[in-house]
Symmetry: C2
Amino acid sequence: MAEDHPLDPTQQSLWRPLRLLQASMDADIARIYAEARIDGLKPSFAMELLRLHAAGPMTITELAESVGRTHSALSQKVAAMRSAGWVQTIAGDDGRSKKVTLTDKARGVVGRLAAEWRATEAALTDIEAESPYPLSRVVSDIERALERKSFRDRIAEKLAEDPAWG
Amino acid sequence: MAEDHPLDPTQQSLWRPLRLLQASMDADIARIYAEARIDGLKPSFAMELLRLHAAGPMTITELAESVGRTHSALSQKVAAMRSAGWVQTIAGDDGRSKKVTLTDKARGVVGRLAAEWRATEAALTDIEAESPYPLSRVVSDIERALERKSFRDRIAEKLAEDPAWG
DNA sequence: AGTGCTTACATAAGCACTGTTACGATGCCG
DNA sequence: CGGCATCGTAACAGTGCTTATGTAAGCACT
């Protein structure tokens, strides 16, 4: 009998709704991209293209650092973007490095890309305004709380207190 | 021209920090699981195992509905859980269906599984308490806002207002 | 009983995404 | 020259889903 069992902790969860919420918003963003029908443009390219547009040509390694990935990951991404016609790689100052630059095709769409990004942010701002609690504050508060003590350490501490964990 | 020195919209983003925050918290949860070293237990199994523990044996289809996936996805997941020794499938009332039930091995760890879940929630509650703005309220406020108008529609509206979208 | 529809499940193949490790090639610099 | 930095690429890892197909059981109707 289910009533004998402990309550399902997954039923009164805050973490899960947060995940689901974000997943559904992510899906909506993906939908916007899909509807925009910019041929061959993957949403995951947007960040890099906007960065390159804003900061100008960069080497692979610079780009990798700027988005927090390994050079290898970025090398592959740049290759994909290149074969989709969004970027070119041209010789850099240093013979070893190559500057990644936007193609004309890319320059033709970054405006819309930026518009999409702004629209997403604006929509989020509107949503935020419909709640008395500012999302941006909550995010930065949580970030600061995690700087004081990491989420992992917090969970580990709670676990240590739980007799069922023993 | 603005295009000579374009602002990078990705630099003043709320959406991205939110994603990164959640990703890093997710990674911490995964780390807790990894440290627990419950042999062969994937974090993605936890939900289903706790559900089964709380609600008792269910068919694949019931389980699929309960977590919002297709039966095929769950069929594969159950197969993986079965071969890892967490569940058994026994004949159901209906000859077509099978009840998924926890094994003794699984019953031996659901307590710790539930403890992990509770610890995660408790850690989150503590973090929430360190901010004057309740995360849970923000989440439900946003959910309600999105019921009124979907994120997709909001973005689309913002886009329509943006001359750069053309 | 036979026919055909529906339900429940299993399985195979494939895809999208993301990343890693390892290795090699090339160029820079002391 | 030797060692380091930069980049490219191949091979692989792995999750988690979808689609398509197959199989078996129930079920309604005749």
